[in-house]
Symmetry: C2
Subunit: 310 residues, 2 copies
Amino acid sequence: MFIWLGKRLIVYTSVMTSDQRIAGIELGGTKVICGIATAAGEVLQRTRIPTRGPEETLLDIRNWLQPRLDVASGLGIASFGPIHVDPASPRYGHIGATPKTAWRDFDLLRAIREWTTLPSALDTDVNAAALAEIRWGAAHGHDNVVYVTVGTGIGGGIVANGRAVHGLMHPEIGHMKPRRLPDDDFDGMCPFHGDCFEGLAAGPAIRARWGKPLNELPADHPAFAMEADYLGQLAVNLLLTASPTKLIFGGGVMNTTELLPMIRNAAARHLNDYLDLTDPAGEPRELIVTPGLESNAGLLGAVALAIDAS
Amino acid sequence: MFIWLGKRLIVYTSVMTSDQRIAGIELGGTKVICGIATAAGEVLQRTRIPTRGPEETLLDIRNWLQPRLDVASGLGIASFGPIHVDPASPRYGHIGATPKTAWRDFDLLRAIREWTTLPSALDTDVNAAALAEIRWGAAHGHDNVVYVTVGTGIGGGIVANGRAVHGLMHPEIGHMKPRRLPDDDFDGMCPFHGDCFEGLAAGPAIRARWGKPLNELPADHPAFAMEADYLGQLAVNLLLTASPTKLIFGGGVMNTTELLPMIRNAAARHLNDYLDLTDPAGEPRELIVTPGLESNAGLLGAVALAIDAS
């Protein structure tokens, strides 16, 4: 809970103390991370469960987590999307139109509430990651942050004025369409849109186009300039809508470290000096960055959700 | 001021009563509207001043408004952008990189504070319009709203969780780039980006391309389908980032009433069923709409800013 006292002052009134225990579930497309952390963001225990169909995956989550919940004062769930996050909707807590057909319309929240009455908070994995990066990571102290993940898909979370953005659904930024590069005739792989950002620049598109992932190609391979251009265009669309002061690119594709500076250059080229990219002191901003939280980012995102909801 | 009490409950604690008087200034690219309204949104007096250079325009504003300020308890300023809206920035209240060169870097807020000590609130005209539409117009009761204006330029305001989005700057949505239509070889008119949305689909681009504004062309003219496709793409980019439950298209170009249903169709075609466009009761949403506040929308936006800041 927080109390808003005017244009710039927010007083956090969380009832949690930093040594309280929070349970977190990061439900990803290929793996689930479950854990127990302190409210200060220290991970005490964690496990990794492969994502299969909903029933068997949820059973594994329950078997690991339920015996550990008696020390926890809250549970956060950070899920792949699309997922219905409006508590006023009858579909609250349901997975939406995902290509993972076994999960489509699955009532995730209900399946978890069958075995725990802990206060639970739910959001997308990417909104949760943005909140965790604000609390403990690369966006510490920022109010307006976008977290993009580039992996098996392209997704994004948006925090505006310190709070995750929902609304009609939640941000689904990977399905915007970039301007195609003239020498790129790849059809794209998105089942809904073909050549949207996700269809052109997520990990599977890189493999389909070049036969290898980016980290197995030399840094002067044309795959890099193409990937950087598309992600630079995505960065521009996000800077011109959500107006973040930190734009974080994470996910497996970003583990290729040569990519970040190329994305920055591509974004600057597409912006063409339209935005002032200096900070109030006139220094260049560290605007487009990689995550500060490494392997625990998703789990800590789930923990951050539970803390914010307390 | 409001107090945030949990996931869905906001308690407004405005100190204003509905018969209090608020002064508003809507600073537009071609005209300024100044007025006095009640805190309930009733416009009591207004005037229209042509926008010229900053000194002569501000002098006219002062001459009309200053004698009327003794009844007012607040002043809202809704300005064309880009304008620096972060109170922590040394450039707060300054106009940014506008094509209107006489206004570039002009310290608007200081020029107004030279002749009034009333509490003043400043935001972009489009953020202000979104807040006014939420308070009194087409988005009444909604928390997540985007207001787009399509006129001499294309601009937009975003409200997330009930509050205007700022950050690095403020939303500058008109400068994203659409996917070009295959039969469109027009270069575009944006001095920064050529064929961004603003460069391709704002009023001046329509005139340059077809020789006439849209409202002087028959509804089966190809200009309509092209305009609707570009604005439909813009709608999709906004739905996939800000995730609004109301997306309002206003501005002079939207006075051509045939355009709105064509934009809705184009947006649905580009989304290709990716988003669920029904409401929680399963009914189709009135998602993309025109403004509810007509000629007073901008002025009431300025008034809404002053009320929100009180």
